[in-house]
């Protein structure tokens, strides 16, 4: 998939743009803001959006947009951490079970089926109870939600290419299995995995916000997106903007990631493209 094609694909381009802007905002925005995410000003609590506070202020008079950006960074990092871990383990398991098949395959797929059988959020919730709340455990939960997905995709892809010429060639040349798996096979099946990864990061953020929203995830005063929305939800009727705008930011961020994912998918499977 060449960059040229990439840039000619509207979806991918839109996704890339939004995501880039999102990342820039998240990582540099807080520096530019003249407020800090935990700087309270009780006299200016729950101010509606204004030039000084584009997203208004929350119940402790903290600048919401600054918190949203900080929170987005935290949520993003949590999600990425979780998804990355899921990829490492899932892909490895998938590669081996898809390549070797046999009992190993059986076991891996059984575990995958099991994890798959739990509703994503329920699994996460369950783990929070078992492991206790907090950042790392949220990431862990996200990992366990996505591990099966990566494992399954990788396995199925590997199975299809297992007997392709280049793989056989590599075997004939006597390359070691790990090398074949990661150097020969993985690059050739990376596209769908990449698509999944972007989408997974997006949903990872949803899971984080969901857990924190009901109070079982990240805990205040750490500003994660979920924490901010939970706070806004409490005085939703009185000052709707906190929940509305923070949620809107989440939506935009996810939109970017999803578009990016779709774009990559389009490019790897042109038939589905919406427009040339």
């Amino acid at each position: 998939m060449k960059l040229k094609h990439f840039l000619h694909n509207r979806t991918a381009l839109a996704g890339l743009t939004i995501t880039t802007l999102f990342l820039l905002a998240v990582f540099f925005g807080p520096m530019l803001s003249k407020w800090s995410s935990n700087q309270h000003d009780f006299m200016n609590a729950l101010q509606p959006p204004s030039w000084a506070h584009p997203f208004g202020t929350d119940s402790l008079g903290r600048d919401v947009i600054t918190r949203v950006l900080e929170g987005a960074r935290i949520s993003l990092l949590i999600s990425v951490a979780g998804v990355f871990a899921a990829m490492v383990f899932g892909i490895t398991a998938g590669l081996y079970s898809g390549f070797h098949g046999g009992w190993m395959d059986v076991i891996v797929m059984r575990v995958v089926d099991l994890l798959f059988a739990f509703p994503a959020f329920v699994l996460a919730l369950f783990l929070m109870v078992a492991l206790g709340y907090g950042v790392t455990n949220v990431a862990l939960a996200i990992m366990l939600v996505y591990l099966p997905i990566f494992a399954r995709i990788t396995r199925n892809m590997t199975e299809t290419v297992r007997n392709d010429a280049y793989v056989q060639a590599a075997q004939v040349m006597g390359q070691g299995t790990p090398r074949i798996l990661f150097r020969e096979i993985l690059p050739n099946i990376s596209a769908p995995i990449l698509v999944q990864a972007t989408i997974a990061v997006a949903f990872g953020i949803v899971i984080e916000s969901g857990l924190s929203f009901i109070g079982l995830g990240v805990q205040p005063p750490t500003p994660s997106l979920g924490v901010i929305m939970a706070d806004g939800q409490e005085y939703f009727r009185r000052s709707p903007w906190v929940l509305t705008l923070s949620g809107l930011s989440v939506t935009v961020a996810l939109l970017g990631l999803n578009l990016l994912g779709d774009g990559i998918r389009d490019l790897s499977d042109p038939r589905l493209k919406v427009r040339e």
Partner: protein
């Protein structure tokens, strides 16, 4: 099974979209409000009811229901005066003996008559160690209960025990009269889920975590009460959800209101807002036996280091008042009148005290709090302020109320956000929190002089003198800052526009008050 919601024509009309909704009013609507046969009174902000046994109840939602299902010997009237309830009259025969004349012909829900035997049984049960009632300590002063005849009860204490009268009122005291004839044979577990009392309402059904249904007690002793035939009580965990439910016409009464919404709701003609200063005390409980709160100077530094009025504004959105002490101002005869300096923000003094303390800036501690709503913010505001003023490094840990309460009792906590609502006697605040043997002294605080004064107050029957003793005791205690009194929150009830007869009391009375509600 009870219906947790009914969408009604009336409610839809009220919900401000008459034009748009009339056309699509669902045909099943209206079923529930032919007249006001059914009152839908939501318990908001809580949805856990573990027991309906007065002797075991601890949570306020449990009390809300118990108050409606049972009676006590005494109760508070609309002016918060103690008046007879199951008792027809009472007199103190001697400083240590109270004699009660019981009403005749009072029937339990199962039709059995209530007699002095039941009263005696109730208190023996409370005092029985095996029963393990959380209210036991209140009645440990009782030495003997005599029942000269079916309608006379004499309660004797070894020495004068002033709080006794309030402990006999239909509040969170556990002294609600339970039927001997059932409990002698039956099991307590059974009774906890199928309570039988003398109150205006009897329990029809209970979907744990979801809702309860009450029905009028046919031969309730007060004429013409209760006015409604059935009461549906949905348990609504989120207070804000309670508001939308009421505005949406799904319920007629709420037990609380989210502080954030009160100002807006007062402007809203779709709802009546009842509010007044509540008999409540919200504070930061410090475990005086563990670092860093084992140092009085450090505790004082903290007490100086945060602005209580700001807390009221931010945490309660103004729905309350900064506290002078832990005895609520609504118990005016005992509460500390003018704010002690130690419960005000004073940065210089705070830092000065920190100087004297063996702990300095950077000291770390975890403040335990619970719930998803303002309790969380309460902790946040406290931590943010003290961290800023003292440069200490406190953090918030959020859990659920049960866990927090448990950890406080086991002493497995440094500091925690806590508070009491609906306790009606100063003794329940001052003695139980400040006294070395106080049932709620989770701070492990001990000051002989304070103890002495509190004990004296228990013996003092003259209200004025007794109040003075509490003030004196509290003044001393505040010097030591075992707890950091923060504020008292208002109590609220939201009523649908045409609901009448509901009398709000500062201790957040609920169940019993529903009996007088006529129209809804």
């Amino acid at each position: 099974m009870t219906r947790s919601t009914t969408i009604s024509r009336r409610s839809l009309l009220k919900s401000g979209a008459a034009a748009t909704t009339v056309a699509m009013v669902p045909f099943w609507a209206g079923a529930a409000q032919a007249s006001c046969s059914t009152l839908r009174a939501g318990i908001t902000g809580y949805n856990v009811i573990n027991t309906l046994d007065p002797g075991q109840m601890t949570l306020i939602p449990e009390a809300y229901m118990v108050w409606g299902i049972f009676n006590c010997l005494l109760k508070f009237d609309e002016e918060m005066n103690i008046v007879p309830d199951l008792a027809e009259s009472y007199e103190s025969v001697s400083p240590t003996v109270l004699r009660f004349k019981l009403r005749e012909g009072v029937k339990f829900h199962d039709g059995e008559e209530m007699t002095s035997e039941d009263v005696k049984f109730t208190f023996d049960r409370l005092r029985d160690e095996a029963f393990g009632s959380p209210h036991r300590s209140k009645f440990s002063a009782i030495t003997e209960i005599r029942t000269p005849d079916d309608y006379t009860v004499e309660i004797e204490t070894e020495e004068p025990f002033a709080p006794m009268l309030s402990y006999l009122t239909n509040t969170r005291t556990g002294s609600q009269i339970v039927p001997k004839h059932i409990l002698e044979s039956g099991s307590n577990e059974e009774f906890a889920s199928n309570p039988v009392g003398t109150g205006p309402f009897k329990l029809v059904s209970h979907e744990p975590g979801a809702s309860l249904e009450l029905a009028a007690h046919g031969d309730y002793f007060e004429e013409g009460l209760p006015k409604v035939q059935t009461v549906e009580v949905p348990l609504i965990a989120e207070e804000s959800a309670g508001v939308t439910a009421l505005l949406g016409g799904s319920i007629d009464v709420t037990s609380t209101a989210p502080f954030a919404d009160v100002p807006e709701l007062e402007e809203d003609d779709r709802v009546q807002v009842l509010k007044q200063a509540g008999t409540s005390s919200r504070f930061v409980s410090l475990n005086n036996s563990v670092a860093p709160f084992d140092d009085v100077h450090f505790r004082r530094a903290l007490s100086y280091a945060f602005d209580r009025q700001a807390m009221v504004n931010v945490v309660l959105f103004g729905e309350g008042r900064a506290a002078n002490g832990i005895i609520p101002s609504s118990i005016s005869w005992a509460a500390t009148q003018e704010t002690p300096e130690l419960v005000t923000l004073n940065q210089e003094k705070a830092l000065a005290e920190l100087e004297k303390s063996k702990y300095g800036a950077g000291t770390e501690a975890t403040v335990l709090t619970w719930g998803s709503s303002w309790w969380k913010r309460f902790a946040e505001v406290f931590v943010l302020q003290v961290n800023q003023v003292l440069g200490v490094n406190f953090t918030v840990e959020v859990s659920d109320s049960g866990t927090v309460y448990q950890r406080m009792q086991t002493g497995d906590v440094q500091a925690s956000i806590w508070g009491w609502l609906g306790l009606v006697d100063p003794d329940e605040y001052a003695y139980e929190i400040y006294h070395t043997d106080g049932a709620r002294n989770f701070e492990h605080y001990s000051n002989p002089e304070v103890d002495k004064l509190l004990e004296a107050a228990r013996r003092e029957t003259d209200l004025e003198a007794r109040g003075a003793l509490y003030r004196e005791a509290e003044a001393l205690a505040i010097e030591d800052c075992p707890v950091l009194p923060c504020f008292e929150s208002n109590v609220h009830n939201l009523l649908a526009p045409d609901v009448d007869g509901f009398v709000q009391l500062p201790y957040s009375a609920f169940g019993a008050q529903l009996a007088a509600v006529g129209n809804c």
